[in-house]
């Protein structure tokens, strides 16, 4: 079982937590072929480009799950929910809380639906360690207060317990 990445998005479309277990591939063939605008001006080394790609991915994933969810609700009715999609290389699992927070996990394609696990991460880790933390703000702009030690450790323990490598 391979786990690629995990993201939490709040209801303001912002990514408040992200975690990756594999480095992003350096560049796919389609990316090198395309000229990047302003790359000559802002080339400050690898660190900045990697960081920008990360946030780019987060935005792409949010836009994607948002559009897929809307498409599914249009086709299947208001009470239809988006569960997951699979490509030839990876599978994306999706869980949305009643407060419109979105939990997204990318794994390999052989994984069954991880929605119950995402629900548990929300109920047992996020609510316990982030929402009930008196020092954390109500909203988490920029991810403040989410990636605290308890949450990180709980997430690690949970993942090694339920998703053995």
């Amino acid at each position: 079982m391979v786990l690629y990445s995990f993201y939490i998005f709040d209801r303001h479309t912002e990514c408040i937590y992200s975690r990756r277990w594999t480095p992003r591939p350096v560049s796919s063939s389609s990316k090198t072929a395309r000229p990047q605008s302003g790359s000559s001006i802002t080339s400050n080394g690898d660190a900045t480009t990697v960081a920008r790609k990360r946030t780019d991915d987060e935005k792409l994933i949010f836009g994607l799950v948002f559009s897929l969810r809307n498409m599914i609700q249009k086709l299947g009715g208001e009470d239809d929910t988006f569960l997951s999609y699979r490509t030839g290389e990876y599978k994306l699992h999706y869980y949305e809380t009643p407060t419109r927070m979105k939990f997204v996990m990318l794994t390999d394609t052989k994984q069954n639906n991880l929605r119950p696990y995402l629900h548990q991460i929300w109920a047992n880790l996020y609510v316990e360690f982030v929402v009930k933390n008196p020092l954390a703000p109500v909203e988490h702009p920029g991810g403040i207060g989410v990636a605290n030690e308890m949450f990180e450790r709980g997430l690690d323990a949970f993942i090694t317990a339920v998703l053995p490598a």
């Binding site: 591939p25 994607l64 299947g76 239809d80 929910t81 490509t87 030839g88 290389e89 990876y90």
Partner: protein
């Protein structure tokens, strides 16, 4: 077994065929369907971009692959199966970029073979039709009838 609908999206992202076999999904106006097809075309491209691990070349040492690098080899495939609580959508993209979307019940076996059969019908009755212009909406009676026969027999 229930097959809800079949959409065919051209390589430019236009909806060129839509057919409902069984009620169960929302009725949408043709404008809405066109919009959905266009946005799905974009989402499909994004799912390719998001690929966290590049596909490994199937046979890197083979001489044939080294001599004639195919543009189709080890390119990440886009979205293939989309699951929701009410339906399951299988997307099959041909090498030329045409996409077939098949909407079925969530627990539907053998969608791959159905997809092959539909692609076969498409090749036989649409692509071989001398009056059909590529990338244009599909109006071929034989294709319609073939699909009807196929889906009804299976159902």
């Amino acid at each position: 077994m229930v097959v809800f609908a079949l959409f065919i999206i051209s390589k430019a992202g236009g909806l060129i065929y839509n057919r409902e076999f069984h009620t169960g999904m929302n009725k949408l106006s043709s404008n809405d369907l066109l919009m959905l097809a266009g946005s799905f075309h974009g989402m499909h491209a994004i799912t390719k971009q998001l690929c966290p691990a590049p596909p490994t070349p199937t046979n890197p040492a083979s001489t044939a692959a080294a001599l004639a690098p195919s543009p189709f080899s080890n390119r990440p495939s886009g979205l293939e199966v989309l699951e929701s609580s009410h339906f399951r959508m299988q997307c099959f993209q041909t090498l030329t970029g045409t996409k077939f979307l098949l909407f079925t019940e969530p627990q539907q076996p053998n969608i791959d073979s159905m997809m092959r059969k539909i692609y076969e019908l498409y090749s036989d009755f649409v692509m071989k039709n001398p009056f059909y212009t590529v990338e244009m909406p599909i109006r071929c009676e034989k294709f319609d009838r073939g699909l009807d026969g196929f889906v009804k027999v299976r159902g």
